[in-house]
Symmetry: C2
Subunit: 180 residues, 2 copies
DNA sequence: AATTACATGTAATCCGTTACATGATTGA
DNA sequence: TCAATCATGTAACGGATTACATGTAATT
């Protein structure tokens, strides 16, 4: 699913500006499984408009660029529906953290405990952010489902780190000691 | 972390050919948090060789292209170590499945139960594959840690889907019924 | 005084995938 | 006989990021 389809989908949930779409993918309920920058969103919306899949009404603002509020057209809705026909490919997680852990064992094992600790902190922050979003009583059933799904995986990851970090540190120290 | 650094890291774990690196990222213990194709690996190795970060010995094979076995040089090891200094960015999961769920609610809610069911099956397969890798008694501590980490998150996700799929289906049916 | 939020957009660039090109061997 | 595994590589193309460009207003 590319940015194009993503915009279509977000607009299916409600009208929005490019700026708002960006906020949703980078902070909102979408943030933990997607990402997109202005540099891809604005051009996508422009093309979508040309193609008649979305339409745009402009709202004047003093001292700011006009707000362009996009809305899905019926052609856009059909295109989205079509895109949702083929079943989604597998989730792809890219984790520099896990890669770094694996590589660090060979090259800089002393850094591992700090890396793990810092990651635990990051996880907690991310979980707190998601939980805040989950508090919103107006979430649709699917949105709540998606957020809970993310929360469960995230918590499992955090718990794993919390309960196995020391074990790893010990094993690492044990293998190549200066120890006792 | 780009393919370049990834190659460096994998070679830190042991000498390998481009073909083997590709196998590791697409099937081995790396598969669940990384991906890279031949089209990026081979050029990366070529450039790394030019730069003296890896070196390559060729092994003749009858009726096949010569095998090029790459090994990390000390410069390469230093470069990898440097790359591992800055702490890894956040994990980025891109899930077309979750996006599709969210969007489908608006546009094709009837597809949701099938999507969830198919995803449960995919999760089971992936978990089984990872468990097989985890069986290998020769895994290094960090490798085992990484795999277990993945396994825990994956299982949490699977469990969530298994136990909440019906609930979602019911809510969806309830909201816009033709029901009773 | 500085940073963040609001608001849109373009251009240069990077990074990677897909498809192409070649070809033997082994197992189903 | 057909697919998969082994083995390397290039070229076209796509997709997205980063940095650039511009500017106000509110908050810290």
């Amino acid at each position: 699913m590319n940015v194009r389809t993503f915009c279509l989908g977000i607009l299916a949930l409600g009208d929005a500006t490019g700026y708002e779409i960006r906020k949703m993918v980078s902070q909102g309920p979408f943030s933990f499984f997607s990402e997109a920058s202005f540099g891809s969103i604005y051009p996508a919306l422009a093309r979508l408009t040309e193609e008649g899949l979305v339409e745009c009404r402009e709202e004047a603002q003093s001292k700011r660029p006009d707000k362009k509020i996009y809305r899905l057209t019926s052609a856009g809705r059909a295109a989205l529906e079509a895109a949702l026909q083929n079943d989604p490919g597998p989730d792809r997680t890219r984790s520099d953290f896990l890669a770094a852990l694996l590589f660090a064992e060979c090259v800089a094992p002393e850094r591992i405990p700090a890396m793990v600790a810092s990651r635990i902190a990051q996880h907690r922050t991310q979980i707190a952010a998601l939980e805040e979003i989950a508090d919103d009583p107006d979430l649709s059933p699917a949105a709540r489902f998606v957020i809970e799904y993310g929360l469960q995986s995230l918590k499992a990851a955090r718990d794993y780190l919390e309960s196995h970090a020391d074990g790893l540190a010990r094993e690492l120290a044990g293998a190549r000691p200066a120890a006792e």
